[in-house]
Amino acid sequence: MDLVLSDEQRMIRDGAASFFRERGGVARMRAYRDAGGVGVGLWRELAELGWAGLIVPEAHGGAGLGMAEMAVVSEAAGRVLAPEPLLGCAVLGASALGLGGVEAGLGWLAKVASGEAVAALAWDERAMRGETARTGTVARRDGDGWRLEGEKCDVIAGAEADVLVVSARKDGGEVALFLVEKAAPGLTVSAQRRVDSVSVARVGLSGVAASAEIGDASVLDKVLDRGRVAAAAELLGVAGAAFEMTLAYLKERQQFGVAIGTFQTLRHRAARLYMALELARSAVMAASRAVDAGAGTRAGEAVQMVSLAKARASDAALLVADEAVQMHGGIGMTDEHDIGLYFKRARVLAMTLGDGAFHRDRWARIAGY
């Protein structure tokens, strides 16, 4: 598990970077926001490039690649704040459909990989604070099937989803994953806008009939861990781009007759941001490879690596975001400047799927302190 990019990964990275650059870079996110921030942007185009199905097995129409490759695309997307649901659909949605190995779920994968259908995972709830053990949504047995009752929040791409994978407690006991189609009676989906102007859905489930049970709690954990790696990689992109913008500003902005990058305090703080980003990058690379190695690693090792990556990337991104605004000075506070968009996305991704404190607690639990 060497921590270097393979030639293929470099190719994917460069391809993603030039695609996003050609499509307008971060200006595209600003336009998306000003247009109201709904829809899945260029999702169809991304799917044509193979990214919607990047980690979908080849047998189901995907590219059959791993999280190491996904991380490379997620980072490129993060650099331009792409509003498409790579995390929501290509990682969380596709994994939730596929990892349980149940036909009803697998059957959707080809459509997801081609971009014809959008899938989303509805797992979080307002009072859960990220702990799946606190899931409140309940699945009640109804003949051969299940009926779901509860409310989910922050479902990425939920408003656009054709199919939802919903976590719920079976008769109030074990958590499992259920397939719910868009048209299911009793399902209400309302879009909400978060600070990063990408909408997520609140999902109401009022006796909704699930079309299948497609995974248990351990599958959910694996799905979330893949999402954490992707979110961490996206954060690397967000924070990396924000850092480079700031570095450029330090070199260019003149005060007192010199570039402000000559002031030692700012220089040292910039060096510390750089350190934080480099350490985060090592952790993200290790985590993606550990997840891909799967059974090959010591139990708990991959999970710890995932928590390390998400914690490090979240903390680094928040630090970079705060410092980026401060170092930009007044202009950094204006809505007009792009750095604010990075600031907001960094915060949303840092909180998504557990922030630094959440993952340090999780690490401690696994390590047994």
């Binding site: 604070r129 922050d154 007044g330 809505d335 907001k344 404190a357």
Partner: protein, 398 residues
């Protein structure tokens, strides 16, 4: 002395009890609550208007200003009495604004007799609202590098350029500006402090939306705007002295404003933590890290407020203002950021809400306050500049 004060207190109390509008009593005393005045004034109620008029008539909108300029002519001690009596009835200030706290004191210190007579009475009466034209896009921390130019033309100046971060420019009548009148000398020596009527042709304003949403800040553009030379304060090319005095004053004010704003924040945060996170078997906030940070922020707030009190107590005891006051701006603003940060963390997923009916309104407010607070360590002199000042002037570092 104390007898005279007691007599004054009795008089004030009797008058307020008799005359102050009943509808205004018992108001929450927010520091931005009150009437801003000006040509475009909007009163919250007819009683607010009456309250302004009756106070202005006595000069009690600017209690310590000399009576010849419309002020109340009160001593500091009398002013304290007046304030405490207003607090007793929970009456809002009759008038607020930059006229009273910024340009007024500056005119009293640096203005000519004619300038004071012209500009102070309209401030006291709330007829003219003022704003401040200092920063420019290229001149933030390095304010003295400003480039807005004023060219002499007989007894007038013609002004061209742009100011930024002017609060409430679009609601103001006059602006006090720093302009460049000499480019042949070191930058601090070619700056003039001048008063400009914003109704003059060529002045335009544009609001600045922030990452937290709408804001009172504006850009102000000057295109061949005419200002009278008699409205230069402190002499042509002598504006930097005036500007610095005003800035020092502003920074102390900011520290005090933050001290006021932190009071009571602790209980609010603790309640939010209980609501969002719940308690463990011992009745403690269930997340031990959040609980610890709650204590940290609350204790830091208390230490900060005690420091403000120590500075005031020292002044009361006749000590010269100590160097401690230099820390208020830096510490107060960072404290506010940490508090807002914690508040967003406590709110969990609600802390990320931007708009939408599904979010509790107080969570949406908290989110925007958290974003807005990032600007605290930039505006009014960045923390970096403040730390430089502390290092140089307070610690005497070379």
């Amino acid at each position: 002395m104390s007898e005279r004060l007691n007599a004054f207190r009795a008089e004030v109390r009797a008058w307020l009890e008799a005359e102050a509008p009943a509808s205004l009593r018992g108001a929450p005393a927010g520091f931005l609550q009150g009437t801003w005045g000006g040509r475009k004034v909007k009163f919250d109620s007819p009683d607010h208007e009456r309250w302004l008029r009756m106070m202005a008539e006595r000069g009690w909108t600017a209690p310590t200003w000399p009576t010849e300029y419309g002020g109340g002519g009160l001593s500091k001690a009398e002013d304290e009495v007046l304030k405490s009596e207003l607090r007793r009835l929970k009456l809002p200030p009759p008038l607020i604004g930059f006229g009273l706290v910024m340009i007024g004191p500056t005119l009293l210190e640096f203005g000519t007799e004619a300038q004071k007579r012209e500009h102070l009475p309209p401030i006291v009466r709330g007829e003219i609202r003022w704003c401040q034209g200092y920063s420019e896009p290229g001149s933030g921390s390095d304010l003295a590098s400003l480039r807005t130019s004023a060219v002499r033309d007989g007894d007038r100046f013609v002004i061209n350029g742009q100011k930024v971060w002017t609060s409430y420019a679009e609601k103001s009548d006059w602006i006090f500006c720093l302009v460049r009148t000499n480019t042949q000398v070191p930058k601090q020596q070619g700056i003039t402090f001048i008063l400009v009527d914003m109704d003059m042709p060529g002045v335009t304003t544009r609001p600045i939306p922030l990452i937290s949403g709408a804001s009172p800040f504006c850009e102000v553009f000057f295109s061949d705007v005419v200002a009278e030379a008699r409205n230069v304060i402190g002499g042509i090319d002598q504006g930097w002295t005036v500007a610095k005095a005003l800035l020092g004053h502003e920074r102390t004010m900011v520290g005090e404003v933050f001290a006021q704003s932190v009071a009571g924040g602790e209980a609010e945060l603790a309640q939010a933590a209980r609501r969002y996170i719940g308690a463990d078997a011992d009745g403690k906030v269930a997340d031990p890290l959040i609980r610890h940070e709650l204590a940290q922020v609350a204790m830091d707030e208390r230490a900060f407020m005690l420091t403000v009190k120590r500075i005031k107590d020292g002044a009361k005891a006749g000590q010269r203002p100590g160097p401690e006051s230099s820390i208020l701006k830096v510490y107060g603003t960072e404290l506010n950021q940490r508090r807002r940060e914690l508040s967003v963390r406590i709110a969990g997923t609600d802390g990320l809400g931007w708009e939408g009916e599904d979010y509790p309104p107080e969570a949406l407010t908290a989110t925007r306050e958290w974003l807005r607070a990032r600007g605290n360590t930039i505006e009014g002199g960045t923390s970096e500049i403040q730390l430089d000042i502390i290092a140089k002037h307070t610690l005497g570092l070379p």
